[in-house]
Amino acid sequence: MWSKSLLWPAVILLFLALPFVIDSNYYLSILIVIGLYTIIVQGLGILMGYAGQVSFGHAGFFGLGGYTVAILTTRFDWSPVFALIAAVILPGLIAAIIGRPTLKLRELYLALGTMGFGILIHTLFNEGRELTGGPSGISGIPYLSIGGLSFDSDIKFFYLVWAVVLLVLIGINNLIRSRVGRALRAISESEHAAETAGIDTGKLKLKAFIFSALLAGLAGGLYAFYITFISPSPFGFHTSVQFVLMAVVGGLGTFLGPLLGAALVVLLGELLRWVIPLVIPGAGGEYEIIFFGLILVFLMIFRPKGLGAFGKNLKPPAVKPSVAPE
């Protein structure tokens, strides 16, 4: 009992002390990026692991959040807090609009539909020069300040981002254990039975989609305030694929899966970028991708349910047939 109840507070305290131990901005920035990605993958995990829908367009919502902050603060002089709120709401609104037709699609078509959306948004960032600054982006984004507290250092930002991660974790934990959470789990087990229980599966999937877009927008907004500069390149299709990868590698329907998945994919990326040139001199980015793929394949063979699938699962991942039942 004792050891169990003290484990989590101890882990959290140790984690919170990290910025004082590591005095390198490089490591701190990696932890911040992991935190931001965790926020996105937490939302995507609800969509994929419970509502049983995949999205290959979440970098689009991530970017929308980032550009909303960039444009509103630099071009329209919005206060950072309001810009951040808009960065959450706008992706949610767009998800509500595109979600209805898109979520009617199944499997491969849904993947293609969301992918198309992501690519469209990315293209708009590149081409909408007057508003987005085109490929060179927007610089001079102010620091985020909330009621006089300015998040102007990496350490402050570290705490902000991980506080958000923790809040989202608590929220999702509440959600999964509630009436709505049971309904989401029901959808991933049997859509017909869920409907028979009176669950409007279409509407609930849409809500999960909107929720995941809101979180991606929030992460995007925070990202813009953190880097204080934004350009289209971090929001391309490959980023969307990475988010899906993080969700799957971490383990769908698991509590810590999003965090573990985000951490693994980010750390692995950094590690390979550093190791591969030592092993294969003059090797370019394509080798990274090959090794990346290999490591992930091994991981999925030995831990098919993802890294987070230890101890108590929230629920097994979604597999669902869609034909009329016998």
């Binding site: 929220g171 999702i172 509440n174 959600l175 509630s178 009436r179 709505v180 959470g181 049971r182 309904a183 789990r185 029901a186 087990e189 049997s190 017909h192 039975a193 869920a194 409907e195 028979t196 229980a197 009176g198 669950i199 409007d200 599966t201 279409g202 809500k207 929720f211 699962n313 629920k315 097994p316 009329a324 039942p325 016998e326």
Partner: protein
């Protein structure tokens, strides 16, 4: 009339799975739908519950058409069902399965759930209490906290019935509830169905076990190749030569 079905027709490709089927279920009765394998019984259920759309025909429930309603709207109207090939929420506990069946009785939404707003725990406690009561009625109280997938098959069938009852429907559609049950379990099931009827619940029962059908049903419709070939009381059906012919070569014998 509780449920009225008229001229119901559904084709798959060129084949008529259900052709011009009509029947009426009065409140507080058990109506049985029987027929050889592939006769179209499950398809009738899928048409009533909105999983499939009829090519033609009418379905009225409490005097109102069910046309175009989605399955969850049919449930909200008061019709729930069980599935021939069990569709339990396997990863959830037995209790959670029934609590999910009571989804319509709660009102906590997405945002309130995320924030665990006050009142949620009270609602959940109430629903869990009602679910436990229901579980004790089918004798599953002691296994409430184990995963549904871990139950023996017979208890899984009972759990599906309990789940279909949880929202308090007016009519339930039972698709072969006795399939896979041993004879003791089948007897208990028949007693339970009669008790539900006494409490005022109406049922449409699809079942191959003729003993159970003859015992519990008030009226029976026999389907063969998608068409209704005979309708009447159990005694009338047992005496109908056409029915006996339809069943020749089948494993199931009229009792």
């Amino acid at each position: 009339m509780l449920l009225e079905v008229q001229g119901l027709t559904k084709h798959f490709g060129g084949v008529a799975a259900v052709r011009d089927v009509g029947f009426e279920v009065s409140e507080g009765t058990i109506f049985a739908l029987i027929g050889p394998n592939g006769a179209g019984k499950t398809t009738v259920f899928n048409l009533i519950t909105g999983i499939l759309r009829p090519d033609s025909g009418f379905i009225h429930f409490l005097g109102k058409p069910l046309d175009g309603l989605k399955p969850h709207q049919v449930s909200a109207a008061g019709i729930t069902r069980t599935f021939q090939n069990l569709q339990l929420f396997n990863g959830m506990t037995v209790l959670e399965n029934v609590m999910t069946g009571a989804y319509l009785n709660g009102k906590t939404g997405f945002v309130r759930s995320l924030l665990r707003m006050p009142g949620i725990n009270a609602e959940d406690k109430l629903i869990s209490k009602q679910a436990l009561t229901l579980l004790s009625e089918v004798g599953l109280e002691s296994v409430a906290d184990i995963p549904a997938a871990a139950l023996p098959f017979g208890q899984q069938r009972l759990l599906e019935i309990a789940r279909s009852l949880a929202s308090g429907p007016r009519l339930i559609l039972l698709d072969e509830p006795a399939a896979g049950l041993n004879s003791a379990e089948t007897k208990t099931l028949a007693i339970f169905l009669k008790k539900l009827k006494q409490n005022g619940l109406s049922m449409v029962l699809v079942e191959h076990d003729m003993e159970t059908v003859m015992e519990v049903a008030d009226r029976i419709l026999v389907l063969n190749f998608g068409e209704g070939i005979s309708e009447g009381t159990p005694a009338e059906i047992q005496a109908d030569p056409e029915v006996i012919r339809a069943y020749l070569g089948e494993d199931d014998q009229i009792a």
